[in-house]
Amino acid sequence: MADAATIAWTPRGSWAGILASGEFGTAGQPGVTIEARDGLGIASLIAGDGRDEALAQALQGHIGLGLPLTPCIVSSARHSLVWAGPDQWHLIAPDRNGFDELLRDLAPLAAISDQSDGRAALRLSGPKVRDTLAKGCMLDLHPSAFPVGTAALTSIAYMGVHLWRIADDPASGDAVFEIMVARSMAGSFWSWLSASAAEFGCKVTATGRG
């Protein structure tokens, strides 16, 4: 071949080209606030048969968190562990600093797969966040049924979603949810979410990454 192909790989955030910072929908005070959660360290952990205990101890030592055995999320200042099915969890860090090293340390205890570039996550809040999610989510998200720290695997508009509730917004007291979808579904999920949130007025914060 005469010409050697030159490929320039450019990192792109999972929401790049899909959503942009700004406001859309009904004007006025936004009912829904959406923040792109780009650049996270995300890994799936699957404990081998009977090795939950060893994995739990290692995680306690490394990041100070126990393994949630029911559908919920536990968080420290930096890390989160979220239940992702029986004997499965997602480890989430706000960035990739030290993430590879952490995964390497845990590798003997679980099947670990780095999902940082495979998932797309959003943080949703605002007074109308439940009304927005109710248009597609079959779960009861009322505070009595879905308290802070609850996690769920379900589907919205036929897309598999991993959904959990973190601590309420300290300023407004509104509930805050995080939703993670497969990155390949990010465009389709945004199509549903943006259409569902528009009537309440929506403010978007993208990271501008990629």
Partner: protein, 91 residues
């Protein structure tokens, strides 16, 4: 119909995928007869009433479940994980 997943709680049936009868046990392939293998692969009861079925929580936690259900009323008697059921069968 709603199925109460032992892991996730009560969920709409559209989150689940139906496989079929949970009762047939696969014969030991090298030891069994052709007729027994044929029955295992093809023969199914179609009861009007109590039925043990395999369901997969495909849009949720991806667990295989054994659901005991009345096919006339859709009333669900029990839901167990297939793993617990298999361990129970072995015990």
């Amino acid at each position: 119909m709603r199925i109460t997943c032992p892991h996730c709680g009560a969920r709409d049936v559209q989150e689940f995928t139906y496989l079929g009868d949970a009762n047939p046990q696969r014969p030991e392939g090298m030891a069994t007869t052709e007729a027994a293998m044929h029955d295992y692969v093809y023969q199914r009861d179609n009861p009007a009433g109590r039925h043990r079925e395999l369901w997969y929580h495909s849009a949720g936690c991806h667990a295989w479940l054994v659901v005991t259900r009345d096919t006339r009323t859709h009333a669900i008697e029990t839901v167990e994980t297939a793993r617990a059921r298999a361990q129970g069968d072995a015990a």
